[in-house]
Subunit: 153 residues, 3 copies
């Protein structure tokens, strides 16, 4: 088992099973040593975290949704590169947070994804990041995140 | 004529004429073997598909808007690389759908772009994808899409 | 002093001091010869331009906010590559404009960033661009922009 997946398991976390994309596209694509992933949310085959920040969802709920979303992104990246140990650096994440127009603490929500990446990859897990609020995400997930990873062969 | 444009014509489709960007920017830029395009909508010099998903626009209308947007993106990419046959893979598309806060079937709309890319490029047309709802797009287009393409010299 | 910073000063502009990211992430990351930056707004340590386009903010205010945001992006990029003269081309910017659902003149706002890049870098400052309206930005900045730069060693 890879070092990263071992670390995940030590933290009591694991990669979710794949959820097939809803359209005619891929979970991600590698060009050169960059992997661009499709945006996904916290949904797995048998669970989801829905809700709207500022309305019916706490910061803790949002943070957990972003962490689960990170696991789903990593599961998707693994399906492309085979082994999560091949990630040499996280380049960027883009977080879309389902929120009321009054809510603007996106950072505290998307940190659920950023913190896990840093916990797993240390300095190499640090990344550029953009966050924004949206009215609705697909499947009503609290967050939807896409990412760019730098990988080795 | 290129194979891809020939295939387009066989499908009864063609590339629209250019619409100049509304600001001091480009329709796209190639760095290395990647082309990053500016977001565009279904607008051409003499037509547009406006409306809001969930309010006054059917899924079919949205799908067609995304297909026309794809043609406009391809027209822009051709102006950069000269020949659409030089696209070796579609890397990613990012779809912004003009929608009410209740609408969340972005995938069914943006498929209009994804399906055409796959029809034209086969397996190499498959791509990572992110979709979101927005309150308004420039020129009120139902969708606005930007893309990243992998190209050869 | 670098040529670009000298040009900035001649224009009566200067780079703002850094504002540390609000979460566990970076202001940007360089992979190969591309620098991906985190989205930032017009906020500095002692000023900000807040407001909502279409409600309480003029096009001129929005344009200035986008120009100040550009300066902050450049300040962040300098912290990564050391010298702004190393930018060989601007690849892309993505502008998120805080706006009412009726407003759609994003281009006129984001031009504040695009125009400055072209003034500083000439033809090499021209870039692909996507713009959209959002309900709220972090810290209520009128705009929030992220960017991709092509750089040399």
């Amino acid at each position: 088992m890879s070092l990263i997946e071992n670390k995940l398991n030590t933290m009591g976390l694991s990669l979710p099973e794949h959820v097939a994309p809803a359209g005619s596209y891929l979970v991600g694509y590698q060009t050169g040593n960059l992997v661009f992933t499709s945006a996904v949310g916290p949904r797995t085959n048998d669970s989801n975290i829905t809700g709207v920040m500022g309305l019916d969802c706490s910061i803790d709920d949002g943070y957990e949704a972003a962490q689960r979303t990170c696991l789903r992104i990593l599961s998707n990246v693994k399906s492309i590169i085979g082994d999560l140990d091949k990630i040499t650096h996280v380049v960027k994440i883009f977080g879309m947070v389902q929120a009321t127009t009054d809510f603007n603490e996106y950072a505290r929500v998307v940190n659920g994804c950023s913190d896990l990446l840093v916990e797993l990859y240390g300095e190499n897990g640090k990344h550029a990041r953009s966050s924004m609020g949206v009215a609705r995400n697909p499947f009503d997930g609290v967050v939807s995140i896409d990412a760019i990873f730098e990988v080795t062969d």
